[in-house]
Amino acid sequence: MLVLSRKMNQSLMIADDIEIIIVDIQKDQIKLGIKAPKDIPIVRKELYEAIKKSNISAVNKKDLPDLATIIQKNTTKK
């Protein structure tokens, strides 16, 4: 991994069309500005990981309950 030091308002380029700018620095948080072409997907890693985790738990269950029955049960409960 490449590690670079940057100060406030400094930036770095990735190839010739992506720029990452240090917009704000707080004690335990920095704000980044990203200039990139519209088709470059930019996503916080936690979100990416959370969706992956959710997908895995979505297929984890071995036997699916009879969904119609669950809904029916809950509907008639009212």
Binding site: L47, I51, N55, S57, V59, L67, I70, I71, N74, T75
Partner: protein, 152 residues
């Protein structure tokens, strides 16, 4: 027609037109690129069954059943992957449903929508650019409302 092994319905015959290619796979299952979309009448749920792995099937639901103004905002590259111009073409949107130990706590993932081009049979799991949506949105209460007979 194709004969496929399914997780929930045993061996079934299904029309070839239900076969959807996911060029990028689905997050966590990147090597699975081909699924069948199984539609069951009388059910709000659909199944996305891997064509090669019997045990891999996602349950899908139409998010507009419970969020009428669900705003699908995804990256240009995602639209390109499924060859859709969102202003011109028809497309399908689904949420993956998770059913935990207590099935009454079932949730839908609104943050990672499945978007399908029904004409070209290409699908993608996009990551919503609008991150106000929940990954685990509880759906049972809304489903009850939608599905309960109007006479009640």
């Amino acid at each position: 027609m194709a004969k496929i092994q399914t997780k929930n319905f045993g061996t079934i015959e299904i029309a070839d037109t239900q076969r959807i290619t996911f060029p990028e796979g689905i997050l966590g299952f990147e090597n699975e690129k081909e699924y069948y979309l199984i539609i069951k009448e009388d059910s709000p749920f659909l199944w996305l069954q891997s064509s090669k792995t019997e045990s891999l099937a996602f349950i899908l639901i139409n998010p507009y059943l419970f969020i009428q103004d669900y705003k699908l905002e995804i990256n240009h590259r995602d639209w390109d992957t499924i060859k859709i111009d969102p202003k011109e073409d028809d497309f399908l949107v689904f949420s993956i449903v998770t059913i935990p130990e207590n099935p009454e706590q079932m949730t839908a993932n609104l943050q990672g929508p499945i978007v399908i081009n029904p004409k070209e049979k290409i699908g993608i799991q996009a990551i919503s650019l609008n991150d106000e949506y929940s990954i685990r949105y509880p759906i049972l209460d809304s489903l009850k409302k939608v599905l309960s007979p109007e006479t009640k």
